[in-house]
């Protein structure tokens, strides 16, 4: 295990300056994610037009892994269709948990999250925002989304 593999420059950068951070006016969906083990908490808000994520922002508090993962996620899914975003969720989930995951090059910056796999205690930090997004995208009724918990 190498610490530098976990805390890659991309992760440190997105932790220092999270993208798409803050409130989102007139959001179509707002969903909360909790990691009860460590107290991490995030709120994800998104706008959908014609089944495409036209805007997405997040806020909350969490460790560097969780903040960077959320920041990278918002960049990656903005402009994607609901279906494409869910496909990406599956790919990232595999990247975080499966040693046999295919090479992550085509995931672009998200590949930086692969270092988390070697730190089982931290996988939930990286996956919280993705599970939160998936629950919103899979929901039939965007107006009453239940909170997501990693436990």
């Amino acid at each position: 295990m190498e610490l530098n593999d976990l805390y890659r420059d991309v992760i440190l950068d997105h932790n220092r300056r999270p993208r798409n951070f803050g409130d989102l006016d007139a959001a179509d969906a707002s969903v909360e994610g909790f990691n009860p083990m460590c107290g991490d908490h995030l709120t994800l808000r998104l706008k959908l037009s014609d089944d495409t994520i036209s805007d997405i922002r997040f806020e909350g508090q969490g460790c560097a892994i969780s903040t960077a993962s959320a920041s990278l996620m918002t960049e990656a899914v903005k402009g994607k269709s609901r279906e494409a975003a869910l496909e990406l969720f599956e790919r990232v989930h595999q990247l975080l948990t499966d040693d046999a995951a295919p090479p992550a090059e085509e995931l672009g910056k998200l590949a930086a999250l692969s270092g988390v796999r070697e730190y089982p205690a931290r996988v939930k930090c990286a996956s919280l925002c993705w599970h939160t997004l998936a629950s919103a995208l899979k929901a039939a009724d965007l107006k009453s989304l239940p909170a997501v918990s990693t436990e």
Binding site: L3, L6, Y7, C38, G39, G62, C63, A64, R122
Partner: protein, 416 residues
């Protein structure tokens, strides 16, 4: 390397000799010597504890209180011998007052369900403090919900101190039970429990002290404290996990109905009526954690054989060294600065989330706890989502604290 002589004891505590009693302390983690600073979560096992459990498992195991055969008698004698040791260790009047449970959490739940639930009436009050562990909050919330009683919370100040006056001012004719920690797990604050209990007693309030964090750090004399109940866990005092103790005043335990039904807790069973066993067995339904109890007995022997004044002085010196060293780190804030503290330091570092810090320190072989420490109201009070906590035992060294400080600096640089 660390022979400490301090003002309040003229004896020297031999840290290296103490360390040799704990085999795990020679482990390497990621190529670095283990610096185990998570004793508040669980302390390590002394060799004599490991040996006692091993000897029991290899040579004496059978179910207790059941058989006339040799092994059952040996196992029973060992298990009940552990109860005698615990009785002497905390100076209970009688061995009947020592109930073996799974741990502090179960001990508190036993009291809330078997003592509080039948006693409390709607409008009664249960008084706790702001710095309690969830295990001394949630069981009381549950019993309040069941009975219509009200949970009242005594405040703490910005140092994480709970003042006697603050507690006393909330005591009234409605207050039936007071439950508080002896030592706060998240902050290290030592509460003035003897005076708190005295104030409760004159008002006829039943008292429970959560001793989970105190039992390994200071001598506990339940008669001197005067409390009605005292709860603690074996694994925080160098014994095995899965076993703990509820001390209860015999008079109260006698009046309480059994908590769980089953074998061991009965004298006679017919389908018409069951006669319950005498104390302490009334509260010990089913086959207990026999090896755990025996290990706890060995841990008591170990602690009793230790020069506890000298060990305490060393822990105190570690606390002062850690406080001084960490306070020098830019952007570090110690959470919990009460004047009277057990040897633990909870802290936050600007720009470094406790979880990232925990991972980075682990890479250096340093084990600390990060998170909310099962004390979310404490985190809310100090407006932090989590802290990192270094909690010390007498086997820790000044060098380990210096390594902790270096690790924190490394993390700060990484996230700067």
């Amino acid at each position: 390397m660390n022979n400490i002589a301090l003002a309040h004891t003229d004896r020297i505590f031999d840290v290296e000799a103490a360390r040799r009693q704990f085999p795990i302390l020679t482990r390497m983690i990621h190529g670095k010597p283990l610096a185990y600073l998570d004793n508040g979560a669980s302390a390590q096992r002394a060799q004599c504890v490991i040996d006692a459990v091993d000897d029991y498992e290899r040579h004496h195991h059978a179910n207790i209180h059941r058989g006339v055969h040799t092994l059952s008698q040996e196992a029973t004698a060992m298990y009940e011998g552990a109860r005698d040791r615990v009785q002497r260790f905390i100076n209970a009047r009688s061995r009947s007052e020592i109930i073996f449970v799974r741990g502090t959490t179960e001990a508190i739940n036993l009291v809330t369900q078997s003592f509080a639930r039948p006693t409390l009436r709607a409008g009664d009050e249960v008084l706790i403090t702001h710095l309690e562990h969830h295990a001394n909050i949630v069981p009381w919330q549950m019993v309040c919900e069941q009975t219509g009683a009200k949970l009242v919370v005594a405040p703490m100040d910005a140092h994480g101190e709970v003042h006697l006056e603050a507690i006393v001012s909330l005591m009234s004719a409605r207050t039936k039970i007071l439950a508080c920690a002896h030592v706060s797990n998240a902050l290290g604050t030592i509460l003035p429990v003897r005076r708190i209990v005295a104030a409760a007693k004159v008002r006829g309030i039943t008292t429970l002290i959560d001793g989970a964090q105190a039992i390994s750090h200071m001598p506990v004399d339940v008669q001197e404290l005067g409390c009605d109940f005292y709860a603690f866990s074996s694994h925080k005092m160098y014994g095995p996990t899965g076993v703990g103790v509820l001390y209860g005043r015999e008079q109260l335990l006698d009046r309480m109905p059994p908590w769980q039904g089953g074998g061991e807790m009965i004298l006679q069973v017919t389908f018409a009526k069951t006669t319950y066993n005498a104390l302490p067995n009334k509260f010990e339904a089913g086959t207990p954690n026999i090896s755990g109890g025996i290990g706890l007995g060995a841990a008591v022997d170990f602690l009793s054989g230790l020069d506890r004044d000298a060990a305490h002085a060393h822990e105190d010196a570690l606390l002062h060294h850690a406080t001084a060293t960490l306070n020098k780190i830019h952007g570090l804030r110690i959470v919990g600065t009460a004047p009277d503290k057990a040897s633990l330091v909870s802290f936050v570092v600007e720009g470094v989330h406790p979880h990232d810090l925990g991972t980075i320190l682990d890479e250096d072989g340093i084990a600390v706890r990060t998170g909310h420490h099962c004390a979310m109201p404490v985190m809310d009070f100090f407006k932090v989502p989590a802290t990192a906590r270094a909690s010390f035992a007498f086997y820790n060294t000044f060098d380990e604290i210096d390594r902790l400080a270096a690790g924190i600096e490394r993390a700060r640089k990484m996230f700067a």
